[in-house]
Symmetry: C2
Subunit: 192 residues, 2 copies
Amino acid sequence: MEVTLSRKEQIEKTATALFRKRGFSATSMRDLANELGIEAASIYSHIRSKEEILQRVCFRMANEFFEAIDKVDDPEATASARLQAAITAHVQVLTKNTEASAVFLYEWRHLSEPYHAEFLTLRDRYEKHFREIIKAGISIGEFKVPDEKFAVLTILSGLNWIHTWYKPDGKMNAEEIAANLATMLLNGLKQT
Amino acid sequence: MEVTLSRKEQIEKTATALFRKRGFSATSMRDLANELGIEAASIYSHIRSKEEILQRVCFRMANEFFEAIDKVDDPEATASARLQAAITAHVQVLTKNTEASAVFLYEWRHLSEPYHAEFLTLRDRYEKHFREIIKAGISIGEFKVPDEKFAVLTILSGLNWIHTWYKPDGKMNAEEIAANLATMLLNGLKQT
DNA sequence: CCTACCGATCGGTAGG
DNA sequence: CCTACCGATCGGTAGG
């Protein structure tokens, strides 16, 4: 599936790869221009600033994560089923966008205000979704956990390394990875 | 316990805090000098370069992690006991050095060669220790895991978020945190 | 999309 | 540990 990208999309994609490899601060507009085969000044015909690119990547990914878990959540299901679905959705987003995921996970701190604060609000709301599921599981005795926030952060970090490792043509596909991670991480909540 | 730091140690400690907060590339020597209350040029009486500080932090922490797991490993013990001990040791190092841990975990990619390659070699050797324990557990049927490397990376990332959250005066102390993490993450290996 | 350029800041050195 | 400074590079703009 080859898609023709607009110049703006090309810039965003190339910048994402560079931000991921070297970090936002260590990537210069001249690095980016070089990679695109144009002059640095020309980039500004398409974007307003270096940070705007970072903003677009971070908030687009935030959106992707929200949409993915909202789509699969069924509040009627058991906590285990809901958590498994959320984990699977999260892993799908990570594996479909490994570079943008890495930028989303590690470069958001270079956002200036008010974007920085807004990003943190979104991230907290996302984690809250997981906390709610775990709380529901605790209240009906399905899970046993010392602290929901603690459990959520352990689970999400246990998922978020995937971008460093995932290859589309590796021996596990996204579904298998999600299933293995869900099994490993869900079992930990069911301690007796 | 107040310790008098040498100027070099003060520089390293202050730089660690800044590298953690803003990232290595976004921290300037003038930022660091400002925080220390001296001129940027004066820093160079104590260190050779900005990168030297990063090198010292990264390799000192690598050493700390190695020493910690070597000290507690007992090859005669069960795989569960060994893994639990390794997890506890790892968490101890993380909680005792939250800022340096963050730098160790996220800023090593700004190391130049040959330090960068050496760092990756050390990190792989560290992970190998965990892989060996898991392999031993698999071979005697104590663990059931699709892929050792996969399991190790899940476990280590499930631990490595702690620096973002740990407060020495929080409601859980380092031992309780380690115990909770070990329980959550070990149960995942014992699936039937 | 380019040439030409801006002021600011970077890591680091010389010399005391 | 400071003053004085270096060449290089930064993000970004003017004007076409």
